[in-house]
Symmetry: C2
Subunit: 370 residues, 2 copies
């Protein structure tokens, strides 16, 4: 598979993604320095995920900021398909959404699409995906969202809120549209075909502009939503896209909750984290120590370094030092992995405590089912 | 259009229907004399709609009766697509369902598919179809169903009950299936494509056999349901089909709620009923009185006679007398129409009173929305 040859859909990511090509393919806009300056002027600082291009692409961010400056505040919406336990890759857009909520003082909706994962996974029942939804909700709450400004939507629980909105969207989307955008075929089940309307629904839950921070693989859903919005008298949702988080075994796919060895779960113990990183994290190092010391490693393909860059080392100076030390050969792969293990376990020990407390907060966050 | 050339789908009925051919085309079973005897043995009498072949076809009626005789009671389910006010044609399967409820002592579910009519009618909003649903519910209640054994489902109101069931059905139906059964195309909207799963859902609302009395045009939905049922560990629904009720202007279509002149509404005044029947009811009479007296009329194509046969004259002897008198030329078209007008207005004066009282009973009948 050449670097040209990659696939990005909401249900399948394969190959080494060229993000500049993806921007052209999807028709989104690259986040420019000018846009970064504009965000920084409002927020006072740039989140490191913006500085480092983890969020790299958008649709209509300038519209969102124009409206904000006119006093017309947007709301935030993101979500998760609950096909398994939460892993650290899932947290990327959520942590960023939390930052946006804090900086812009906005309402936030988090959709757990138990129906989608039921439709798309042969071996999962609706009861399974609902169970995962409630598990995943704890990780979301643990990140510190404001309960008075944040609602968690579970599709099958909140269907009475979602369905009337989804129906209005569904009437404006035909099978051809879903074939073009998702590559559906005659063999696709009718739940999957309808589902995109369910993912559109929270965009219109408030009569305000909406900004959606999300993995770029989810963009196709909202391309449809953006086409439909004016036809039902609504505003187009704005998007800000993050890159796919690599699996432990390296690039060529996104981290998947169903591959246990490729994934660090938020509930993993320090020992398991250590074992997974040491055993599975794809290394940019040389085959032996002598060669590594002489020629240096390649942090750009090293998964441990990428995890630090994407999530676990917010300090640019520290990250730069690690980059240089690893590239020069001064830092060995084992040392780099030790840094990451310590960072992940530090994060998880706090996260797991908050996650326990989230069990008592769950009811407060769940959207009222009436 | 030859007599071979007719169309029967849930959304389009056209041409003169040959019901024997339709039975072959749909793969249903004709109601045999043996089956009628069996029903009569249990119920003590045959409803005139059974005696006259208004209900003419079925699927798995013998299974339903076998289970009933073993003490495993079925429940009843029928419904209506609320695209307008109720007309007298709608009442046919409901009146028959009421008879079944009385004779077999069963529970009954009545589904008002406001979402379906929203998806299928370009000019109707979900608010419009919901309004019609509540109107139609009054006519249903007015027929005297037992409140303690009868629940009315409105799709968009009871979606939290229906969606988890519909989702399980939807996972087992693909786009090809809906193309084959409904003739859907790439231009069909995804709400319509999904919708059949919503119409399946009430079949599985109780864990018992279900019998569905319904217009034969609705059979395709349940062909899909019957294919899916064993795949989700459920019993196949049984069906009993009525013929299409002709429009006032005559055969070649079913009575449609959206064609005002072709339709007698349950809320029409006696004067309007009289005017509609005199002006629009297709006549099997001769062009002038002398010819009619000599050669006689044709009751088999006369809509007034058909309405008496289908609904308004339960007495077989009286109906036979009218048939013979009209056929011989003794009875003129005006006299036949007078008989029908009197029958309809007699029925409607009682119905409209009960319909008014139904407004206070509505809450008791609506399925609990939780």
């Amino acid at each position: 598979m050449s670097s040209d040859d990659f696939i990005v859909t909401p249900w399948h990511v394969e190959g080494e993604i060229d993000y500049d090509k993806l921007i052209k393919r999807f028709g989104t806009e690259k986040i420019s320095n000018q846009l970064l300056d504009r965000i920084e002027k409002i927020t006072g600082e740039l989140h490191f995920m913006l500085r480092r291009g983890i969020f790299f692409s958008h649709r209509d961010m300038n519209f969102i900021l124009n409206e904000y400056e006119k006093g017309n505040k947007f709301f935030l919406y993101t979500g998760r398909g609950p096909s398994g336990h939460t892993h650290i890759g899932h947290l990327v857009p959520w942590v960023f959404a939390k930052w946006l909520q804090d900086k812009f003082g906005t309402n936030m909706y988090f959709q757990l699409t138990d129906d989608e994962k039921f439709y798309s996974k042969q071996n999962l029942s609706l009861e399974d995906t609902k169970k995962f939804a409630l598990e995943n909700a704890l990780d979301f709450i643990a990140l510190g969202f404001k309960p008075e400004k944040t609602k968690i939507i579970i599709d099958s629980d909140n269907i009475n809120t979602l369905y009337p909105i989804a129906a209005k969207v569904a009437k404006k989307i035909n099978f051809s549209n879903t074939k073009a955008v998702f590559g559906f075929s005659n063999e696709t089940n009718i739940g999957m075909i309808f589902y995109t309307a369910m993912q559109s629904a929270p965009c219109f839950i408030e009569d305000k502009p909406v900004l959606i921070p999300l993995g770029v693989d989810q963009d196709p859903h909202f391309r449809l939503t953006r086409d439909v919005a004016p036809k039902i008298g609504k505003l187009k949702p704005a998007l800000i896209h993050n890159i796919m988080i690599p699996a432990l075994q390296g690039p060529g796919g996104k981290m998947s909750a169903s591959d246990e060895n490729g994934t660090v779960y938020t509930t993993d113990t320090p020992e398991i984290v250590k074992k997974k990183i040491i055993k599975y994290a794809f290394s940019g190092g040389r085959p032996d120590i002598e060669e590594h010391r002489n020629k240096g490693g390649n942090p750009d393909i090293d998964v441990s370094f990428q995890y630090l860059r994407i999530f676990f080392e917010p300090d640019d100076n520290k990250l730069k030092q690690i980059y240089e030390d690893y590239k020069s050969g001064k830092m060995l792969t084992g040392e780099l992995k030790s840094i990451l293990i310590e960072k992940i376990n530090g994060f998880l020990s706090v996260h797991q405590e908050k996650r326990e407390k989230a069990k008592d907060q769950l009811d407060k966050f769940l959207l009222d089912n009436s």
